[in-house]
Symmetry: C2
Subunit: 334 residues, 2 copies
């Protein structure tokens, strides 16, 4: 069965294609009755205009491109879910790309999306993205762009983030209040803005009580479980172990958790741990991991809303930075 075209509807209604085109979009030039008649006929034939032809004519589509490092991360999966919800309601569709934490792949994804004439792009940058040169292409094409969570600081675009520094500060302050003295930090890559912010929060919190951060207690690594596992292994080999761990995110905390358990140590008795993100899993393991709740679904939703607003306004206006709230979730790991 073939799709009906504007011309088919025009013939059925006894008018010209241009009238149908205008009628379906409630153009004020068209008579109210004509509009009603045409809409009826269109509905009866369940016609909807070919988005490809529309795209060709208008040089834009109703598709929104999304680039995330990895779909399988709990945080990104639920953020995408939030994005999908508002995009869907607004009549857009979602073109999904995965950078696999590779900057080159990210750049190719951008080319792909621009080539597809997406109406806008929502992105969270990869671990290996050191600067935003490839995002400049997006700006050049005047394609609306919004970052969420992992943002590019050198690119002028809307940004939806959380107060990572404050979250980290809260987490570490909590540990300090509990009486822990030597707190290690499993740090993420420096080029990721949120990681360096979390690091700042860590430094600030321990600085507040007059301690200087010990170099040896700061272990840099990636954002995955395996990274937490490896960093923890290093820590456990130290002669003077820390009594608590602040992990840059939950997967890293989980990795550390596993290593600690493997060594037969008890949490929090031998070593305490707090994470960041409030992935579901932190509530299911024993002991539950104290963490910072990050509104992932909400972040996806607002990123999408902000983007759509920008699209509707013709990509005009100041760049917004929206900061969402975090919350300390206390469980038994500290």
């Amino acid at each position: 069965m073939k799709h009906k075209t504007l011309l088919d509807i025009a013939r059925l209604a006894g008018v010209s294609p241009s009238t149908v085109s205008r009628a379906l979009r409630n153009h004020p030039d068209i008579n109210k009755n004509t509009i009603k008649k045409i809409k009826q006929i269109a509905a009866r034939n369940n016609f909807s205009p070919n988005p490809i032809a529309q795209g060709l004519k208008t040089n834009t589509t109703s598709t929104i491109g999304v680039i995330v490092p990895e779909i399988t991360h709990d945080f990104f999966a639920t953020a995408i879910s939030g994005i999908e919800e508002v995009i869907y309601k607004s009549g857009y569709t979602l073109l999904l790309c995965q950078s696999n934490e590779s900057s080159e792949r990210e750049s190719l994804n951008i080319d792909l999306l621009l080539n597809h004439r997406v109406a806008g792009i929502i992105a969270s940058i990869s671990e290996s993205t050191l600067n935003g040169t490839h995002f400049k292409k997006v700006l050049k094409r005047k394609t609306p762009l919004v970052f969420f969570d992992r943002v590019c600081t050198d690119i002028a675009a809307d940004k939806v983030i959380i107060d990572d520094e404050k979250g980290a500060f809260d987490a570490v302050s909590f540990l300090l209040a509990k009486g822990y003295k030597r707190i290690a930090h499993l740090k993420g890559p420096d080029n990721l803005s949120n990681c360096s912010q979390r690091y700042k929060g860590y430094v600030k919190a321990i600085g507040k009580i007059g301690i200087k951060p010990e170099k040896s207690l700061i272990i840099s690594g990636g954002m995955n479980e395996i990274d937490g596992y490896n960093s923890m292994a290093k820590i456990l080999k130290m002669k003077k172990r820390p009594d608590a761990i602040f992990a840059v995110n939950d997967p890293v905390a989980i990795g550390a958790f596993q290593k600690i358990r493997e060594e037969g140590l008890a949490i929090p008795r031998d070593i305490a741990i707090v994470g960041f993100s409030n992935n579901i899993i932190t509530s299911l393991i024993t002991p539950g991991i104290t963490t910072i709740a990050q509104p992932s679904f909400e972040m996806g939703k607002t990123a999408a809303s902000v983007l759509i607003e920008r699209i509707r306004k013709g990509n005009k206006g100041e760049n917004k930075i929206i900061v969402l709230d975090t919350q300390l979730i206390i469980r038994d790991s500290a």
Copy 2:
């Protein structure tokens, strides 16, 4: 900056647009040297043909539509990741839809994808999809279609599944071998083929040692944690409790797990539990949950490969049913 067009390249090369079009696709009618020259010029101007114009002309796109019940499910997230991997490598892009377990939404998603002239569709049906009438539209449009995991039995399409009956049989047999006598089953919706298959496997396993399944030990519910939690609550109220639980999937197992823990019971001492899918989480909680490993990433990859093969062959040929292997993963919950 505007996108370059075929015409721009044609002018630069001093040939007609048709020649450029053919040259870029290595049409045999075009002289080898001309091809080389045109390709050079195209590359230098980093031109790539406008997919929208191509789509209009050829009435198909290089986009593949994916419909899943929920992106946030571990299983679907990793399956999507697998899909993305092969789609990307093959030069296609991924249009993602979420049915939110709603059959109507699923139907709308199908309309959307067909309207967008996707090259093919990969789907896993929703919990509330009782029959495949809305998938008939896909067949009518002759759009290639492949189901994975949750398939529509009444629709002629390629299918990528696992042997759910065997998986369930293995899981329950394992419990029986361990000496458990009264095994309850937290069952999924009957309309989901894989759920009814798992149920069959359960019945078969306990039938094999001469026991008849007790009606009261079979609790129907959904596929989420909350369903497992609620079903478990019912079970714990029974006067004569089962000594083991076989859950239709891991989220349900986790829900049951939480309820059991809340009641202060011990796993597996008071009650044993086995799940299905091998979500990461089952390995992280204590005790680890015995489950059936389901190759989610692999399923996504093969679904995509099968679809692309079908697209390339012009949607011809027999419908394939590909059954992937499962594996019993023994942990401490039984």
